[in-house]
Structure formats: C-alpha cells, structure tokens
C-alpha cells in the first residue's frame, strides 16, 4: 500500500509539473512580449521599458524565469493581469465563489436527474418507457450547452414568462443556469448508473435475495445502491472538467459574473497570466480529485484492497 501511495502521488505531481510547464511555454510562445503590450500603449521611453522588463523579470534567462514562476505559483502568486492591472489572485478571489456555487448546485441537480433517469430506465414501468428513457442520455450529450441555455430563456422567460429576466431574485437568477449545466452533466452519470444497475441486477446474489423473498425496495437499498453507486466515483475528475467548461459557457450565455467571464476576457485580451492561472488551478483540482478517488476507492471497496495485497 505504501509503495502504491508513493507511486500514485508521484504521478500526480509529475502531471501537475507538466501542466505548469505547458502553461509556462504558452506564455513564452506568445508573439510580441505580451508583458509589455500594455506599457507600449502608454508611450514610455525605451529606458523606462527596459526598467519595467527588469522589474517583471523578463530579461532573465528562460530557465530562471521558469523556476521563478514555478516558485511563485507554489506560493499562490499567479502574477499580474495585464489588462486589469491587479494581481491574478485578486481576480480569482472575486470570481471563484460564484462559479463554485453555480457548479455545486448544477452538480447536485445533475446527480438527482441522473438518478431519476437511471431508476426509470432500469426499474420503471413498461418496456417501452425504459427503452425511451435509455435514449435520453445520448440526446443530452448532443445538445450544445449554450443553445440549451438560450432555449430555456426562450421558453421560460419569453414564452411562459415564469422567470423574470429584468430584475430576478438572486435564487431566481440561478434556476436556468443550473438547469443548463446540469442537463449535459447528468448524461454520462446516468449512462454509467444504468450500466451498473443492469450489471448488479443480473448478479446471482440479487436472484438469491429475491428468491428468499426480499422486496424490491430491500434489493435496491441493500444490494443495488452500494454496488452501483461506487463506480460513479471514478468519473469525478472528468465530471469536474465538464462542470467547469459548462459553467464558463453558461456564464457567458446568462451574463453572470464568475470564472467564465474572467476566462472570456482573458482570451479576448490575450491576458495570458489569467488564463494560465485558471488552467493550472483546474488541472490541479482534476489531479487532486482523481488522486483522492484512487486512494479512497480501496477503503470503500475492500475487495480491491485485498486484491492488491495478494497480487
């Protein structure tokens, strides 16, 4: 177990370092010394520009800049936003909370939706109902997130007039964005749940439980739930990435403040430091989530831990 742990943590750190390196090279590859674009517009003299270059560390050799930037990232200093002229950390602190709230709500809604779909598809009603519900996830994946958001505004705000877009309450403002992100996220979740529940229901121990007179609810609660829910954990990292991407697009559609707006501005203004920080932080979150799941899984599923010990 100790060796597995060290190996796994080492791998995670390696991926993080590689992500940082890629992001750093991106900054360097950008044409026209992006750091100085802003100051050129101010009409400074060449001497003043040279001083600023030194102040930003842009005159040092590449490897020194690399080590310096890495040290700064490790201490939570992500540099300055060229356009806004404030530390990137400050921009992140301003924009992260609303995006996190939106994503968390969307994830909760997606989980609920996926669970309902999976139960309907495996245990619900007539055969044709199940077949129909089984095709829903493919449809959900095929819908462009931004278009879904626009359609929801179209139907619920303009046609039905249920949700005001002029001056919505804070909670009212979040209903449609949460639904917009939740629909595509629920699809892969539902697909995996359906596959798992099918597999568990075909297991001999379920047949035995049924033969012993267990009720439907009993089988679900004691046999299906645990065995079908656990594998969903392995999707956590991928879902996180989808959630973040969905939030970025959705915030653009609904004009919400958050990481999405920040990302859009960064791309429009070639504000590389901001995008670099967002990329590295989201990759770090992805790596951390996957590491946690890998380490947690053997604890939750003792069969795996035992298997590894004997192997």
């Amino acid at each position: 177990m100790g060796r597995y742990l060290a190996q796994r943590v080492g791998q995670a750190l390696l991926v993080l370092a590689a992500t940082f390196t890629l992001a750093f090279l991106l900054l360097q590859a950008l044409p026209g010394d992006a750091v100085l674009i802003k100051f050129l517009e101010l009409g400074l003299t060449p001497e003043q520009l040279a001083d600023i270059r030194i102040a930003y560390g842009a005159d040092a050799p590449l490897w020194q800049q690399y080590l310096h930037a890495m040290g700064a990232f490790l201490t939570g200093n992500f540099g300055y936003s060229i356009r806004a002229g404030v530390p990137v950390t400050q921009l992140l602190a301003e924009n992260l909370p609303s995006t996190l709230l939106l994503s968390a709500l969307a994830f909760a809604a997606a989980s609920l939706l996926a669970l309902v779909l999976a139960l309907l598809a495996t245990l619900g009603g007539q055969g044709w109902v199940r077949a129909l519900v089984r095709s829903v996830p493919s449809l959900f994946i095929a819908i462009p997130v931004f278009w879904l958001g626009i359609m929801l505004i179209q139907v619920f705000s303009f046609q039905l007039g249920w949700i005001s877009i002029i001056s919505p309450e804070p909670w009212e403002e979040l209903i449609l964005p949460v639904a917009t992100i939740a629909v595509p996220i629920s699809a892969p979740l539902a697909q995996v749940l359906i596959r798992n529940i099918d597999a568990v229901l075909a297991e001999p121990f379920v047949t035995v439980a049924r033969a012993k007179g267990a009720s439907h609810a009993w089988v679900l609660r004691w046999h299906v739930a645990r065995n079908a829910l656990l594998p969903v954990l392995t999707m956590a990292g991928v879902l996180f990435g989808e959630l973040l991407g969905g939030a970025v697009v959705t915030e653009a559609v609904f004009g919400l403040n958050g990481l999405g707006g920040l990302t859009q501005q960064a791309v429009a203004n070639q504000d590389v430091a901001v995008l670099q920080a967002i990329v590295v932080i989201s990759a770090a979150a992805f790596v951390a989530i996957n590491l946690l799941v890998d380490l947690l899984y053997p604890v939750l599923d003792p069969r795996l831990a035992r298997g590894r010990r004997t192997a």
């Binding site: 991926v15 493919s138 994946i141 462009p144 931004f146 996180f240 590389v272």
Partner: protein, 276 residues
C-alpha cells in the same frame, strides 16, 4: 498471410431504422456542404432590404434574420464551415493522437512513459480551457479553432491506439509474423494497424460529433469564423439578440447541430459494435 482481411467486412451491422436515419442526416448535411446552391437559391451573406425578421414561410422556410438574410440559406451554407472545421479537428486529433499512441504502444519503455504522461497532462486540463489556451496562442479564426479542438482530441486517440496496439501485439498471429521473420515496421503496418482500424474509426466518428459541438461553442463565444460567415454557433449567437421577437433564428441552427451530433454518435456505435 496476405489475407489481412479488412476488419470492416467482418460483419456489417444489421440495418436499423435509427442508423439509416443517422446516415441520411449526415448525407444531407454533407450535400449541403458540397453543393449548397442546389438546396437554396438565396444569398447567405447578402440580406434583402425590408425583409428583416420575417417568420418562417414558404419563401423563407426558417425565416429571415436582422439583416434580412434567409436563415435557411445561412444554415445550409453553414454546413461547409462546420463540417470542414470538424474534419480538420478530427484529422489533427487522429494523426497526432494515433501517431503518439502507436509510438507508445510499439516502443514501450521510457518512450511509452513520456508519451502517456503527456497524454495524462492533456487530459488533466478541461477540454474547453485547453482549446482556449491554444486559441489565445494562435488567434481567432475557423481553422485555428478547428486545430484547437483537434488538440483536445489527441489524448483520446493516443490512449485508444496505444491500447489497441498492445492488444493486437499480444495476439498469436503477430507473434507468428515475427517468428516467420517479419520486421517491426512491416508487422506494424500489415497486422497491427489494420486490426486497430475499427475502434479508431469508431472513435473518429464520435469525435466528429464532439468537434461539431465544440466548434459551435467556440463560434458562439466569438473565437471562430468572423461575423458575416454563416457558422452554426455564430448563427445562434447572432439570433440571441432577437430572442424575444424571432425564436426561429436560434432554434433552427441548434436543432441541426443536435441532429448531426446524434447521427455521428449513432454511426460511431454501429462501427464500434461491428467488431464484436
């Protein structure tokens, strides 16, 4: 040993109505892209003065936009933009990804380790952020957006082709080919690649759909083709300004995207299922 049968011939999928429909949708959209003039006589870029925001009718099946342009013509001409972009994206992902994957699977050792850590890194960055990072470097434009979307697909192609190479390499006939004096490159070309083709093709079809989705998202955000170009994502972005007055402007292009992506997914499943 010359009869390395084409894997696709091993078993055609039974023709199902859903699959037929999916093929029909893609064929129609492909025809739009190749010869848009056959489907609409109207100009997709030049509007008719005085015909702004007309609802759907016989003259304008999908209505007209804020500049009096026929929306159906814009959707039809937009197929070229979207399909060409998706082809470029899939080609970039397929060539780079399969190249890396085959290299990793064939060479193993440290080459394998380095390539797979690179793939891990690509997978660690959320797809949209990865393509935005490439766009910030390359700039805006349809080809640049397509390349950015293609890079995101590299990791998946690399993973799949590596796994396929390892799978085929472990089989008896590859061992036999080596045993009868086959050289590494010859065995790879003759036995490993043809036998990996089916699953790579299935992934390519799936990625084609994802690329259309991703490209329309980038187009919507304004990083793809510049405005007068009829690109599906851009059409939806432009229609957004008239949500309250002209529902048809956003609804139709979005439905086309959904249908094309669904069809690509269906065909991918048919190809993938043909093997087993």
């Amino acid at each position: 040993m010359s009869g390395a049968a084409l894997p696709l011939r091993a078993g055609w999928p039974r023709l199902q109505p859903g699959l037929l429909l999916a093929c029909a949708v893609l064929a129609l959209v492909l025809a739009w892209a190749i010869a848009p003039g056959l489907f609409t006589a109207r100009n997709p870029v030049q509007g008719i003065p005085g015909a702004q925001l007309l609802p759907p009718s016989w003259a304008h099946p999908l209505g007209t936009d804020g500049l009096g342009r026929d929306q159906f013509a814009r959707v039809v001409y937009g197929a070229r933009e979207s399909l060409a972009g998706a082809f470029v994206a899939v080609a970039v992902g397929l060539v780079l990804g399969t190249g890396l994957g085959v290299l990793a699977g064939a060479r193993s050792g440290w080459v394998d380790a380095v390539v797979m850590r690179l793939v891990d890194t690509l997978l660690a960055i959320p797809g949209l952020l990865l393509s935005l990072s490439i766009i910030i470097l390359l700039g805006f434009g349809s080809i640049k957006a397509a390349v950015a979307v293609g890079i995101v697909a590299v990791a998946q192609f690399a993973r799949l082709s590596r796994a396929e190479v390892l799978r085929v390499r472990a089989s008896d006939y590859v061992e036999a080919a080596y045993g009868s004096g086959g050289r590494f490159g010859a065995v790879l070309w003759r036995h490993v690649l043809p036998n990996s083709l089916t699953s790579v093709l299935a992934l390519a079809a799936l990625q084609f759909g994802s690329a259309i989705l991703a490209l329309s998202t980038l187009g919507f955000l304004g990083y793809g083709a510049p405005p007068p170009t009829p690109e599906w994502g851009l059409l939806i972005a432009e229609g957004r300004d008239f949500l309250a007055r002209a529902w048809w402007l956003t609804t139709a292009p979005g439905l086309v995207v959904v249908l094309v992506v669904l069809s690509a997914e269906r065909i991918s499943r048919a190809i993938g299922g043909a093997r087993t």
